[in-house]
């Protein structure tokens, strides 16, 4: 036993000595260099990482193949990960300074972490709204990857949240599309009275509830206050609108869903299927998922379905024209060996022709103007994009727009509220504490 202790101690001492030899990095983040597409060298390779493994992998596989065919001297090294797998892998790649040339990012604080630390190329010269490339895209999509007047991301999918509703079930209950939150709650009561499940809702993963809160926060809290509070340095979270949003969400869960307090145990995807099977009258869903929520040949499709925005409360003090959503985007590694080639690859991926392919292969609406047509999309998807263009702004998902600690406080707090173990005051206290800690 003594020998064992001695061995461990000796190994520890040597290891401490060696770790002391390593120096802590103290380099300040460098300003991101600007992109230049005037002289692209079509040689070597470009590495790309996405979060589209599985059913959505086909698009980038085709893009890699087509780009290599168009430029024979270029090899595209493509890695596609699952949603969670990507979150883990990109952290490891970042920590080991091995970020691929082109990498996926959500909008908001998630993307800002990369460009604030000099890991993303400044694309303003080539993709800002007034440029040739940028003018092909919805300005709201570019805005989501813009900070201090500089644009860093290439938006790929134009994602926004809508309430899908089953026309037949609405008609059976004599319900019309609600125009405000009280109208929605009244519609739920009317549907329930006809033994129709008003809304399917599963929150096993935590984020489905956060999407409601994102939209309600935009309605109840002025945009300026939101922008200030979502950044820990200027945050106070004093506005009463935050608590109102949580209380309104609790009302929706209580009066519109049948899962209610058990929603934390219900799977989001099973609940989405329930809408498709015509078992629920409404489902709050991203437009990227319309095809999965009401697939071809489904009961919901046969019944007929349409969409509306989550209605705003009457006399809301925030921006009632804001819409929850954010484009999926890609950043270019500022340390890429051939950054111009990496930018050129993404320009190729977001050309109008390939934007149409994006919709026809995996059902994603592109921010590229005019890329949706009758051949590659449903009327509901086209209607969502048309409506999105009328939005005053896109409210980025609450779990990516703010720092991870605040997002975590919201996620766990809202879960507690649904289960009945926390109140809206408890949630806001935890959010404030997390924000203060992140200052």
């Amino acid at each position: 036993m003594k020998a064992l202790f001695k061995a461990v101690a000796a190994a520890g001492i040597v290891a401490v000595a060696l770790t002391g030899c390593g120096s802590s990095g103290t380099a300040q983040p460098a300003a991101a260099p600007a992109a230049d597409l005037s002289n692209v060298k079509y040689e070597g390779s470009v590495s790309v990482i996405t979060r589209y493994a599985g059913g959505n992998a086909a698009f980038f596989e085709k893009m890699a193949k087509d780009y290599e065919a168009a430029h024979p001297g270029v090899k595209v090294n493509l890695q596609q990960e699952s949603d969670q797998g990507y979150k883990d892998k990109i952290k490891t790649l970042t920590a080991s300074q091995s970020v691929p040339d082109v990498y996926f990012s959500w909008a908001g604080n998630y993307a800002e972490q990369f460009y604030d630390n000099g890991l993303a190329l400044d694309l303003t010269n080539v993709i800002a709204p007034q440029t040739e490339w940028g003018s092909t895209m919805a300005p709201q999509a570019l805005e989501a990857f813009t900070k201090d007047g500089k644009t860093y991301g290439v938006p790929l999918g134009l994602d926004a949240k809508y309430m899908l509703y089953n026309k037949k079930l609405f008609s059976q209950a004599g319900v019309k599309v609600p125009t405000d939150l009280d109208g929605l709650l009244a519609a739920c009561t009317a549907l329930k009275s006809k033994n129709i499940t008003p809304m399917s809702f599963g929150n096993k993963d935590g984020w489905p509830a956060i999407h409601y809160i994102t939209q309600l926060n935009s309605y109840n809290v002025p945009a300026g206050t939101l922008n200030k509070d979502y950044k820990p340095a200027t945050a106070s979270f004093e506005d009463p609108g935050y608590k109102q949003s949580l209380d309104q969400f609790a009302q929706i869960v209580d009066r519109c869903t049948t899962t209610g307090k058990t929603a934390n145990g219900a799977d989001y995807y099973s609940e989405r299927d329930a809408f498709g099977q015509g078992k629920a009258a409404m489902f709050y869903v991203e437009n990227l998922e319309f095809a999965a929520a009401a697939p071809k040949g489904s009961k919901a499709e046969a019944d007929g379905y349409d969409l509306f925005r989550l209605p705003a409360p009457a006399q809301a003090k925030g921006d009632t024209k804001a819409l929850t959503g954010a484009p999926d985007g890609f950043l270019i590694n500022s340390k890429a060996k051939n950054p111009a080639l990496a930018v050129d690859f993404m320009k190729f991926v977001t050309s109008k022709q390939n934007a149409e392919v994006l919709a026809s292969t995996i059902g994603f609406p592109s921010p590229v103007t005019g890329s949706l047509n009758e051949q590659n999309s449903t009327p509901q998807l086209r209607a969502s994009i048309e409506d999105l263009r009328k939005a005053s702004r896109l409210s980025v998902w609450l779990d990516t727009v703010t720092v991870p600690g605040v997002a975590e406080a919201y996620l766990s707090g809202v879960e507690g509220m649904i289960s009945g173990t926390k109140t809206s005051e408890d949630v806001m206290t935890a959010v404030k504490a997390a924000s203060d800690q992140a200052k």
């Binding site: 036993m1 064992l4 461990v8 190994a11 520890g12 040597v14 290891a15 401490v16 060696l18 770790t19 802590s24 990095g25 103290t26 380099a27 300040q28 983040p29 979150k87 883990d88 952290k91 970042t94 920590a95 300074q97 972490q113 990369f114 604030d116 630390n117 000099g118 890991l119 929150n203 096993k204 993963d205 935590g206 049948t258 899962t259 307090k261 058990t262 929603a263 934390n264 145990g265 219900a266 799977d267 099973s270 991870p404 600690g405 975590e408 996620l411 766990s412 707090g413 879960e415 507690g416 649904i418 289960s419 173990t421 926390k422």
Partner: protein
């Protein structure tokens, strides 16, 4: 061919000096003389062990004294701040409590119940039946944890789930729950899934230990009129104590390293009610980017499991039959 020659050790005359001759000088042990060539042979193993086990361990401790920004590679020494935050973090204590609960329930199921079941199985007379039963109980251990997680998600589902369906069928509707969605039942739900999977494996290990007990003990006790229950307490349990001790330590140690079971079912939710040290470490590092804090949690897990490993080493040295 048998021999009647009496054997002694050492053989006569081997170590005994002849009368009148001087005692030879004591020779140095051969192992010392050959130590260096031997070390060269084990050096690759030692270097590998040092590089991939001890060095990362110490490096982890160093990281626990720093905050780090993975985007810039910047690190800042903060002393014991991460440990102070740990002590004040209610989720950390919740996670530690869940690990302890996990260990406690695992001991009941994977040590006590597994031993009782193994005794019952090994008492059966029909060998084929015994083999079939061992296989049935072992089967869950052969299923991948991801598949098990999916299976139990179906069992625990609040609407249309098997468990709630059964409760409904027997008139116990009032007990229906969102088993993994209710903070009061979620941790127990995860633990019971783990017991279902690990129970058969432990039973098999106990069965092997019981098979090593000479049958004569049972036959003799049966002649003395001892019943099967008394045999378990008076013969089986005392003679498998080495395996019992080991199983307890391995089970407790495993309970403090649990991670996959929680990730495939609840990911630590709802409201952090199923966080264990492993998942809280993961969330702190990979979700909240707080790698210094995550390293501090890793150090706590290491200290607990090291203590258990040392107890195990000591126990096995003392108890070996």
């Amino acid at each position: 061919m048998s021999t009647t020659q009496q054997k002694t050790f050492p053989p006569p005359g081997l170590n005994t000096p002849a009368a009148g001759t001087a005692l030879p000088r004591r020779r140095k042990p051969a192992r010392k003389k050959n130590a260096w060539p031997g070390l060269i042979w084990v050096l690759p193993g030692l270097v590998t062990l040092f590089l991939f086990v001890y060095y990362p361990l110490v490096l982890n401790f160093r990281y626990s004294l720093e905050t780090s920004n993975i985007f810039t590679g910047q690190q800042r020494f903060v002393g014991l701040d991460n440990y102070a935050r740990l002590a004040a973090d209610p989720v950390f204590w919740k996670a530690l409590g869940n690990n302890c609960l996990y260990a406690g329930i695992s001991i009941v199921f994977q040590v006590f119940f597994a031993l009782v079941l193994a005794s019952l199985i090994e008492n059966l007379r029909n060998e084929r039946f015994r083999t079939i039963l061992r296989s049935i109980y072992f089967l869950p251990s052969a299923i991948s944890l991801t598949v098990t997680g999916l299976l139990f998600a179906f069992i625990y589902q609040p609407q249309g789930g098997l468990l709630n369906g059964l409760l409904n069928a027997v008139g116990l509707e009032s007990l229906q729950q969102a088993w993994l969605g209710n903070p009061d039942t979620a941790m127990l739900g995860v633990i019971m899934m783990s017991q279902w999977q690990g129970f058969g494996y432990c039973t098999l290990l106990f069965a092997v230990a019981i098979q090593r007990i000479p049958r004569e003990y049972y036959e003799a006790s049966a002649l003395d009129g001892i019943g099967p229950v008394r045999q378990i307490f008076s013969i089986t349990i005392p003679l498998v104590r080495e395996m019992t001790g080991l199983m307890m330590i391995v089970t407790i140690s495993g309970a403090f390293q649990v991670f996959n079971e929680v990730m495939v079912t609840t990911s630590g939710g709802p409201d952090n009610s199923t966080q264990v040290l492993g998942t809280w470490l993961y969330r702190s590092g990979f979700i909240k980017n707080d790698f210094g804090y995550a390293a501090a949690i890793a150090t706590v897990i290491f200290v607990i499991t090291l203590a258990l490993a040392l107890i195990q080493v000591r126990y096995t040295n003392k108890r070996r039959v």
